[in-house]
């Protein structure tokens, strides 16, 4: 994070990420909001690249910018009367409160954590992550997959007619 290129990239990404995140929250048109969200995801992926976590970066694009946003797009298309200009709703202030408290939590965690850096340069992270997931963190990993399975079964049950 010392050379000029990284600093410039960091600020450019910061502007993109925060700007489009604000856009996603403020824009009234749902599809535009999703497009902003995709831009945010891409910006976050850029941060991962800066942090030498290239696997995470690509996974971010693939899963968030690719899959999650598609899910939202589907939700919008399947919603009747997804109008271009959504009126303000009752949830405006509660949402703001929740978002702020979430921001506070994350900020607190980020500030209090003692970040350990390896000091090494760019390296392949995919195999490290893979090994970690299937050895040290195998239990959370499996729990996550069971959770996903349960969600899938539940979704199927929910949409099943009669």
């Amino acid at each position: 994070m010392d050379d000029t290129g990284s600093v410039v990239a960091f600020w450019a990404l910061a502007v993109l990420t925060v700007g489009s995140a604000l856009g996603a929250a403020a824009v009234r048109d749902l599809v535009r909001s999703v497009v902003c969200l995709v831009a945010t995801f891409v910006g976050v992926a850029g941060f991962f690249v800066l942090l030498s976590a290239d696997f995470l970066a690509v996974a971010q694009v693939l899963i968030y910018a690719g899959a999650i946003s598609v899910l939202m797009v589907f939700a919008i298309m399947l919603t009747p009367r997804a109008e271009r200009n959504n009126a303000e709703t009752f949830f405006r202030w509660p949402a703001l409160a929740i978002a702020l408290s979430l921001l506070g939590t994350i900020a607190a965690v980020a500030l209090t954590t003692d970040w350990a850096t390896t000091g090494q340069g760019f390296e392949e992270t995919a195999s490290v992550i893979g090994n970690a997931l299937l050895s040290t963190y195998v239990l959370p990993f499996e729990i996550a997959s069971v959770l996903l399975l349960a969600a899938m079964v539940g979704a199927i049950l929910l949409v099943q007619e009669d």
């Binding site: 599809v31 290239d54 696997f55 694009v61 693939l62 797009v73 992270t125 995919a126």
Partner: protein
Amino acid sequence: MEHLLAEWYDIRDLGNAVGHFLTWVDDRGGPSWLPYFVSGIIGVVAILLWAVLSQLGFVWIERRLIGRIQVRLGPNRVGPFGLLQPLADALKVLTKEMITPANVDRLLFWGAPAVVVMPALVVFAVLPFGEHMQLTDLSVGLLFVIAVGSVNSLIVFTAGWSSSNKYSLLGAMRTIAMLISYELIQVLALLAVAVYTNTMRMGGVVAWQDHYNVWLIFLQPLPVFAYALAGAVEINRTPTDIAEAESEIVAGYHTEYGGIRWGMFQVAEYIAGFAIAAIVATVYLGGWTLFGLEEWVPGWLIFLGKVYTYFFLFIWLRGTLPRLRIDQLMGFAWKYLLPLMLVNILVSGFEVLIWQEKDLSAGVVLPIFAIVNAGLTVAMMVGWARVMGHTGSIGEPRRAQLISDVGGVYYEPLPGGRA
């Protein structure tokens, strides 16, 4: 002699030439990032130039070839053999009026064609055109190309949605639905490659094939087929051009676009086609290597030869096949390809495990694996098709009955009552 050989190497491997140039730049002094910067610029410009020129060339080739397939001549008026036709087309597209319909979402409507070429071009950054001719050998290259492809579909969706046109909307819906289905297939296809080669670098995949002197197409016949199909789906060419099915939804997501905006979609589609061809050439067809011939023939020429040969296949298919229906294509992905791909990954992992655990020699093991996988692929495809209820070809030439007297009724409902 020595001097001549060096020059030959420069031509054979343009990457070396660039390397020499960079050393030369470095020797002049200047900041440390300058060579990186210069090499990046050279790479980007080269890729852009290549993509545009290839496209112009292939527009002509495609039109002539399709003309040939369709027993007609194809363009033959502009320039000798109609060679200048692509230029004329480009000029026409550039000078046409860009119409913006009244009710579109202007920002997205204008934005989508502006960025649509980007994902297709970015793919080439991780593909090795030859030895040392790779913009960046990303350590997750295999995943990268899929991730970028999915962004492409999102842009297509944005274009369709923002057009406020029902055909466009249908096209956008279809794009998204197929994106979800076929992205999965792509991931599974390339995952099997990673299992075999133990790397996700594009350069590493090519090096692996070079090292063992075998193309992955022989070891992974099923994923090649699956990936080729998924790629065809992604770039919207017949028989899978469902998102822009001309006979059904006019032009799908780009119905409302005209002029150069429409041109951008065409360019993007073409370059995405090259990208798919290049990925297949790199991952499954040995990239820029050709069993030692790359010592004598420029590697990039071999690579381009493979890319163009593969792209020719797209043109051929386009001239030959009708289009599938969306539910048929989706059903094919989920019910047919997905289980087979999962089995394929299991088998691949098992094979690699045996190979490594028993420490067998590659020369013995790989031919056996190739035969086993080919046999397994055929057996699985035929067997699973039977399980799914397709016994034999459904297209056995049936003919109409010939009746010589009027008045009879020969109606019989189809077995199974498909309706």
